[in-house]
């Protein structure tokens, strides 16, 4: 346990990379047009609500603190308890009007923000299909050219400045995609297709997380989001299209044989090998990703060992079974997986 925690703590600064501490997974990230619009609208709302709150508190304090003699108050002791201050009626009407105006202003601001977000969503340049699974993300980069269509998992790469539409599906229960630094969330619902659009504006590494309770390991259903320059993005895409590299050392070869013929291949796909399962994350370029098990832990040799050996203790309830590999097989499998850059 403590080793895992240590490993995670050690990698985080690395993961944070260029982006600052708080903006990694935060509404204040302002890393895409959508989140910037959110922040503008949010501060407008905060200002109006702040004024209203100040008014209420001022009236409360005034009402409680204002000094009046027994004879002045409209209370039962003076027998005037059914009367009230002559201006109170007018004030009530004024207060109602103020609430009405405030709400109308906020509703209109909200409506226009919503419209402008919807407009931004219409000129998509890139289409990605994201499918939620208990508890990982299946990601397909769509292309008109079938040979360019690419599948990966748990790590989303987005080109900066390019409007990207993400189509949202679910393979099992309801999930919700939430990348706070980029913008709002959208549910992934079985039997329906939703979509969400981002125009990333800041290069960096961010983190998204499932926001709709989806079962035991809901807390560990996260994804790494890499916003990069367009050339870097294209380079990454091209690299991801490559099949897995062939094993070179005897140890890697032993691992390759176990992984592609053994139990792993029933669920996982590794491009260019006989392993072609579809119910678990694609492993073709596993070692090129920054995290393991839907961002449960950072990618490292130690964590790979731990994960392959006993996923159930690292992410209890996860669908990947603990097989109980003998040490030599474990060495071989990890050695092979590490080649999947």
């Amino acid at each position: 346990m403590s080793g895992r925690r240590y490993a995670r703590a050690a990698l985080l600064p690395l993961l944070l990379g260029a982006c600052s501490y708080q903006h990694y997974q935060s509404d204040f990230g302002a890393a895409a047009t959508e989140d910037r619009q959110f922040l503008t609208l949010f501060w407008i709302f905060m200002a109006v609500c702040g004024v209203m709150y100040a008014l209420v508190i001022a009236f409360l304090i005034a009402g409680l603190a204002h000094r009046r003699t027994e004879a002045e108050a409209n209370v039962v002791e003076t027998g005037r308890h059914h009367r009230s201050h002559p201006l109170m009626r007018t004030t009530l009407i004024g207060w109602t009007a103020l609430i009405g105006v405030g709400l109308a202003a906020l509703a209109i601001a909200s409506f226009f923000a919503d419209r402008s977000m919807a407009e931004a969503a219409t000129n998509e340049k890139l289409s990605i299909t994201l499918t939620g699974n208990q508890w990982w993300w299946d990601i397909v980069y769509n292309s008109n050219d079938a040979s360019k269509t690419m599948r990966t998992a748990n790590e989303l790469h987005l080109p900066v400045g390019v409007p990207t539409r993400i189509l949202l599906n679910s393979a099992d229960v309801i999930h919700s995609l939430w990348i706070p630094s980029l913008g709002g969330k959208q549910d992934l619902i079985p039997g329906r297709q939703n979509d969400i659009t981002f125009v990333p504006q800041k290069i960096g590494i961010f983190r998204g997380q499932c926001a709709e309770f989806c079962g035991t390991q809901h807390a560990h259903m996260a994804l790494v989001v890499v916003v990069q320059s367009y050339p870097d993005f294209i380079k990454w895409w091209d690299h991801q299209l490559q099949p897995a590299v062939a094993p070179r050392t005897p140890l890697q070869l032993a691992g390759y044989q176990y992984v592609t013929n053994g139990p792993c291949s029933a669920c996982h796909n590794i491009g260019g090998t006989p392993a072609s399962g579809t119910v678990a994350p694609d492993l073709t370029h596993l070692a090129s990703r920054k995290s393991l098990a839907a961002s449960t832990m950072p990618m490292s040799e130690g964590n790979l060992y731990g994960w392959v050996e006993d996923p159930q203790s690292l992410k209890p309830g996860v669908k990947m079974p603990t097989i109980g590999l003998e040490p030599d097989k474990l060495h071989a499998v990890v050695a092979y997986l590490e080649t999947l850059k």
Partner: protein
């Protein structure tokens, strides 16, 4: 059971001969009335009390305890049981806060944590918040209205037992490790047969059914009591605001609760038990159907909890500012419009589900507009404080705490009503903060205030003012320390319902502060309970009206006798005890040898009928056992329904078996 027309309210005669006949008949009846023993000038004081006691007391012993139909006994049980569940739900919350005190904490695992938050939510919503409001109302409403009993007292007893059984089932399941583990909302398909094996979800769904049946029964009882049992002269315009709040809430329950009972019992359980596919998209069902039906109940539910609390606030503000609440009709209209609007907001829980955007705009506008009636109510209370002379005793402190806290919750609610904002904040700790501000600040603070306020009426003794004030400050400061940082953690990216969170997101500090605050809050609640227990023995004897309040519950002794009032009071203003010209005027002429209450007309509260009140009976308890058995057994087999209907039928037939059609002759004064 025959209803006896009040003698004075015979139909107007149309012909001369008819009138003569009626007058002769009236004279004869008046002669007869002079001799028979009813409460009145000839029968009052100790002699009357002894007779009423004999007529109203339930049989002693355990049988009598189970058979009672006294609304005060039932209300007390409701309140105590709900407080027990509050403590249990609170303990769940503390364990969760401990787990979240630091990142990557291994104190409790995912499965246990998921059970904890499911139990916390289900307990607080279904077993604490709604029942405690109903319990207070069941106890207090007849006293405030100046009547002897609720309408349908046996239904009232049945309601309590159903509620108790539902709560027990849930918590016994928790002890047996069969507790629900997919939240208090149980969205399909996660709660469907494929993803929730075992009986966890079924237990939850049936617990909901129990409590909904109980809530519906209590709502019917309250609505009928409020509409028909008010003291003569208490027109709708003079009715206390708490009664108005409960009238609106009762009607809301009647419209909202069937939706959740339907979606859990009629749709979800068959999906799980007999293979229907209502929510299975693969077979042509729809997962979102569940959310629509759940929130059609779920959003009014929030106001079902909040509106009684506004009633409490009105009661406290009136008494402690020494004047009626400013603009009584405005407050009433605000209550009614909140009740109506609350049925048009449910989709704001579903902004992220991808429904059409035009529809969203409508729900944004509707959600925001709720703040108009609520803002009006706040204004009316503040205006009352301005015009009156506030006394800062514990109940009033809770009202001030309520305003400071609840308004924040209301304003974050306006923020969440906006679609672009909600899409970021939905299902994060920001929302957790928001609804705890609304539910604890908006409902629990007034509840603690009203407990302190009505404690002397229920027990006959005052709660300690010093302990009460310390308790208030602990609760108030603990609350804000716990929940204010949650706005922050939500915006820093913390989703709800996660059993742990990674280090490095900036979530460490706000979570640690929240955990510390939660223990301060819990300590304040413990102090409140200790105060309540100690004051039972040490409290100052209260007398009938310790706060100098205006409404009718203070016109009888503390605690009230089993028949509530020796004579039925007559009401001539909205603050009857403040507008007295000498003695409280009373209506007389109810039977003393049998339980009887006065029914009045719905709007004008003119005397209408003398209504016999049922005796204590075991059948509501037996019926609740039978119905409870069917619900529990149907978790395991669909056959429980047809076979279980047999004992249910027997119990109900016995319960409703016609009584003697001939009323016993009334005794004469001896």
């Amino acid at each position: 059971m025959t209803d006896v027309r009040a003698d004075t309210f015979d139909a107007m005669p149309t012909r001369e001969s008819e009138r003569e006949r009626v007058e002769a008949e009236n004279r004869r009846l008046a002669e007869e009335r002079k001799r028979i023993a009813r409460d009145g000038p000839k029968l009052k004081g100790a002699k009357l009390a002894a007779r009423l006691d004999a007529a109203w007391n339930r049989p002693p012993g355990i049988i009598g305890w189970l058979a009672t139909v006294d609304h005060k006994e039932i209300g007390r049980r409701y309140i105590l049981t709900a407080l027990g569940f509050l403590v249990l739900g609170g303990i769940m919350a503390l364990i969760m806060r401990l787990q979240l005190a630091k990142p990557d904490n291994g104190m409790i695992g995912a499965e246990r944590y998921n059970q904890l938050f499911s139990m916390h939510g289900s307990t607080m919503m279904f077993l604490f918040a709604v029942p405690v409001m109903e319990g207070v109302a069941v106890y207090m409403i007849p006293l405030m209205l100046g009547t002897r009993s609720t309408a349908f007292p046996r239904l009232n007893a049945f309601s309590y037992f159903m509620y108790l059984f539902g709560g027990l089932m849930l918590w016994i399941a928790f002890v047996l490790n069969m507790a629900p583990d997919v939240g208090w909302f149980e969205y399909t398909p996660l709660s469907g047969p494929q993803y929730s094996p075992g009986k966890h979800t079924d237990i939850w769904a049936q617990m909901v059914t129990y409590t909904e049946v109980a809530a519906l029964a209590a709502a019917v009882v309250l609505v009928c009591t409020i509409l028909k049992a008010r003291a003569p002269g208490m027109t709708l315009a003079r009715m206390p605001l708490f009664a108005w709040a409960m009238l609106v809430v009762g009607i809301m329950i009647i419209f909202a609760m069937p939706a959740v009972a339907l979606v859990t019992t009629v749709l979800l359980i068959p999906d799980r038990l007999v293979g229907t596919q209502f929510f299975n998209a693969a077979e042509g069902g729809d997962a979102l159907l569940f959310q629509h039906m759940f929130w059609f109940f779920g959003h009014p539910e929030v106001y079902i909890i909040f509106l009684p609390a506004t009633g409490f606030v009105s009661v406290i503000v009136e008494t402690f500012c020494r004047r009626p609440v400013f603009a009584h009709p405005v407050v009433v209209l605000a209550l009614i419009s909140t009740g109506i609007l609350s049925f048009g907001l449910w989709v704001h829980h579903m902004f992220a589900t991808g429904l059409p955007r035009v529809g969203y705009s409508f729900f944004t506008a509707a959600s925001m507009s709720v703040s108009i009636p609520t803002g009006l109510q706040i204004f009316c209370w503040l205006a009352t404080m301005w015009d009156g002379k506030p006394r800062f005793q514990v109940p009033m402190l809770y009202v001030v705490g309520f305003i400071v806290t609840f308004v924040i919750g209301g304003l974050t609610g306006v923020i969440l009503a906006s679609v672009p904002l909600d899409l970021q904040l939905h299902d994060t700790y920001f929302v957790v903060a928001h609804f705890h501000y609304v539910l604890i600040g908006g409902a629990v603070f007034p509840l603690l205030g009203i407990f302190t306020y009505w404690y002397p009426k229920i027990t006959g003794r005052m709660m300690s003012e010093t302990l009460g004030k310390i308790g208030f400050w602990l609760v108030f400061l603990g609350f804000h320390t716990t929940f204010l940082p949650m706005h922050w953690s939500g915006m820093l990216g913390m989703p709800r319902r996660v059993y742990t969170y990674p280090a490095g997101l900036g979530l460490e500090l706000p979570n640690l502060i929240s955990t510390i605050g939660s223990f301060v809050l819990a300590f304040g609640v413990v102090l409140f309970v200790v105060n309540g227990v100690l004051s039972l023995y040490r409290g100052v004897i209260a007398g009938p009206n310790p706060w100098g309040a205006a409404s009718l519950e203070w016109a009888t002794s503390s605690p009230p006798p089993v028949y509530n009032f020796e004579h039925i009071p007559i009401v001539e203003s909205s603050t009857p005890l403040w507008d007295l010209d000498g003695e409280l005027p009373v209506a007389t002429g109810l039977r003393v040898d049998q339980k009887e209450m006065l029914l009045t007309t719905v709007v004008a509260a003119a005397p209408d009928l003398r209504e016999p009140v049922p005796q204590a009976s075991l059948w509501p308890f037996i019926a609740a056992c039978a119905v409870g058995l069917v619900f529990a057994a149907s978790i395991f087999s669909a056959w429980a329904v047809p076979f279980g209907l047999i004992p249910c039928g027997i119990a109900l037939i016995a319960w409703f078996w016609p009584k003697d059609m001939q009323r016993k002759p009334e005794p004469e004064i001896s």
